[in-house]
Amino acid sequence: MKHTLAVLVENRPGVLTHISGLISRRAFNIESIAAGYTEEADTTRITVVVEADEIELEQVVNQLSKLVDVIKITDLTGMDAIHRELALIKVKASVETRSDIVDIVDIFRAKIVDVNRETMVIELTGEETKIDALCEVLHDYGIIEIVRTGKIALSRGPIPAKEL
């Protein structure tokens, strides 16, 4: 089963290496990892999506928790939480296909962020499945490249992950 972990770490050089090194060394199945600054200047938040059963998950959490720079790990999987990913998709768009693609973009509530004579770049934020679905539809027009951020997640309600 997939688990989404919010990992709060010290904002220091080398922390991501420590985390990714541990993950590969212990052979954990990580689907995505996304890191960025938070409301506190000295804290980085890493969202890790891991494919694991209960026992494996316990190992992932316990091994990551052992890293000195890891402050807190919260499993957001069973919680009421918002899960999002951002994708940028560069797709072939000729004069003939452009209006069809615009329709699709509207249906998905995506955004066109760049257009030129041959291509368009589409930006979509949503859950993983939604992005997958858009990619599938655009496939017919010819996708040139895709970049995805990996999932980020935030619990609903007033309590932050560090206090959960």
Partner: protein, 565 residues
């Protein structure tokens, strides 16, 4: 106080009451070594950085204090890697200070540059790269704190060369504040109450004592628990010495080369209480069939050890000082100890039967020096009171099997990583830490040669280490596997023994002796052990003697091959 970064390192070491540094200088640490010179800080110069780190490791294991190592950047630092991994696997507290190239040169493949922080990330508890002198005291304070608390381990502090020369107003912090590091001391007492119920119910309980007991200095608590409950015990390789091998309830080493009684007891027990163990594959044999009839209890300070290998029914997290003391209290207050010990009788009867059916034994060969006999006589002459330091392989297993350990921290061996070349330098470090103890290194000809340059260090500091080389002229343990599992095809395990080890020792200033006849063993050992300084004894043993019993790789513990008499 205004001082240089190098002086700040020295001041920090003083604040940490560091008695001695094991190290090797070089370009990036010139300024640091100049500060050592100025302060006349005690320092052991080894002949190789690997010798320095194994020595610091031996010092730490023997004394319980953190070992401190210094080396230069690049090759100096990379030469430490095996020793860092050795310490990491066995949870040994070390603080390793390496020089790095100057800040402006980092990342440019500069002369003697190596990313030691990157290299050591998977084999350290934590590591640092210091690029600003102001961070230095805080980092060192944290390094010692992290290395020695919780589950101990090595910490690397890599310091850029120009940081040593930069000036700082020195202030050593009193406290450490790390948001992500709060080693557990007290756990959940309720778990111990639940365990107590299981202990009362158990008919075939077994205590499984590991290296955590030696590391946490909780041998007295374990001994008290054994006395109160009358529970029998077995030990992992790292747990030797926690309870005397002569104790009637101690059924010895479990695992690949464990005793018949210990392995059978593990297979048959109904409650297995692991204390500071890792359930390593050399212990468990076939994991799925390990302790198949038992509820498994696991005491550990490291939550990540729980369920890592063996599924645990009851987990007792916390420092063993806390958990074992509590369990001793509960045992004393709640158990009807007499009734419990009475109840234990059939189980102990069974265990003793196993022990007498198949004790550890070997077959003496006429006219040959038997390695097991050498260990037995060392044991007899030192009365189990020596600090035994081994290399890795057959010498290590024979020492584990045939020496009767009496004291915690008297058995120093590379258990987890299995590092050849560990014995001699670790023995050197142990002797530095324990000048009044008899330190005996049990090594092989292969392992000795891997760090034989440290004979020179032993001689230089006149450390009275007794080096016993079980010289079979082959890489014994590998050859044993080739004999057993590869049809006797001895691929590159014959060392040929062309080097005269006695002359080698003497060339470096260590007296050497040679024993080729069984009747010379005792007399030579008596003489060697009585000598005031170091000595190396070259015991010529048969090249085809096996370590027995043995659980073949991937087999169940009760499928052991016996051998011996």
């Amino acid at each position: 106080m205004r001082m240089t970064g190098a002086q700040a390192v020295v001041e920090s070491l003083k604040k940490e009451s560091v008695e001695i540094i094991f190290g090797y200088p070089g370009g990036a640490v010139l300024t640091l070594y100049d500060a050592l010179y100025e302060s006349e800080y005690p320092h052991i110069l080894t002949r190789h950085e690997q010798g320095a780190i194994h020595a610091a490791d031996g010092y730490a294991r023997a004394t319980g204090k953190p070992g401190v190592v210094m080396a230069t950047s690049g090759p100096g630092a990379t030469n430490l890697v095996t020793g860092i991994a050795t310490a990491y696997m066995d949870s040994i507290p070390l603080v390793i200070i390496t020089g790095q190239v100057a800040v402006s040169l980092i990342g440019r493949d500069s002369f003697q540059e190596a990313d030691i922080r990157g290299i050591t990330t998977p084999i350290t508890k934590h590591n640092y790269l210091v690029k600003k002198v102001d961070e230095l005291p805080k980092v060192l304070k944290e390094a010692f704190h992290i290395a020695t608390t919780g589950r101990p381990g090595p910490v690397v502090v890599d310091i850029a060369k120009d940081v040593f020369a930069a000036e700082i107003d020195f202030y050593y912090p009193e406290k450490v504040e790390l948001r992500g590091y709060h080693p557990l001391y007290e756990g959940d007492e309720g778990v111990l109450e639940r365990l107590a119920v299981e202990m009362e119910k158990a008919r075939k309980p077994l205590l499984f004592v590991g290296g955590g007991v030696n590391l946490s200095d909780t041998a007295p608590e374990v001994r008290a628990l054994v006395e109160l409950t009358g529970f029998p015990l077995i030990t992992s390789l790292m747990g030797l010495g926690a309870v005397s091998d002569d104790h009637p309830l101690n059924f010895g080493l479990v695992g690949m080369h464990g005793t018949y009684a210990a392995n059978m007891a593990t297979t048959e027990c109904d409650l297995l209480i692991g204390i500071g163990v890792r359930f390593d594959d050399r212990v468990t044999g076939l994991l799925e069939q390990f302790a198949p009839k038992a509820k498994v209890v696991h005491f550990d300070i490291d939550a990540a050890e729980i369920n890592k290998n063996v599924r645990t029914d009851i987990r007792v997290l916390g420092h063993l000082k806390w958990s074992l003391s509590k369990l001793v209290d509960i045992s004393r207050d709640k158990f009807d100890c007499e009734a419990m010990q009475e109840q234990m009788r059939p189980w102990l009867g069974q265990l003793n039967e196993w022990r007498s059916e198949n004790p550890l034994s070997y077959e003496a060969r006429a006219g040959q020096v038997m390695p097991q006999a050498v260990i037995e006589i060392v044991d007899e002459l030192t009365q189990g009171d020596a600090v035994i330091v081994t290399d890795v392989g057959q010498n290590q297993m024979w020492a584990a099997q045939f020496y009767h350990f009496k004291n915690p921290r008297s058995w120093l061996t590379s258990g987890g990583l299995g590092t050849m070349g560990y014995g001699l330098p670790a023995g050197l470090g142990a002797q530095v830490g324990c000048p009044n103890k008899k330190v005996v290194v049990i090594t092989g000809d292969g392992g000795l040669m891997m760090n034989c340059q440290e004979l020179d260090t032993v001689a230089k500091f006149n450390l009275p280490v007794k080096i016993m080389v079980l010289n079979n002229q082959v890489l014994g343990m590998v050859a044993q596997w080739q004999r057993m599992f590869y049809g006797g095809r001895y691929a590159h395990t014959n060392m040929e023994g062309r080097t005269d080890l006695v002359k080698l020792a003497e060339a470096m200033g260590v007296p050497g002796m040679r024993v080729t006849q069984p009747d010379e063993v005792r007399r030579t050992l008596q003489e060697a052990l009585a000598m005031p300084g170091p000595v190396l004894v070259d015991f010529r043993i048969p090249s085809d003697e096996d370590v027995m019993p043995m659980v073949p790789g991937g087999a169940r513990l009760d499928q052991m091959v016996m051998g011996g008499k």
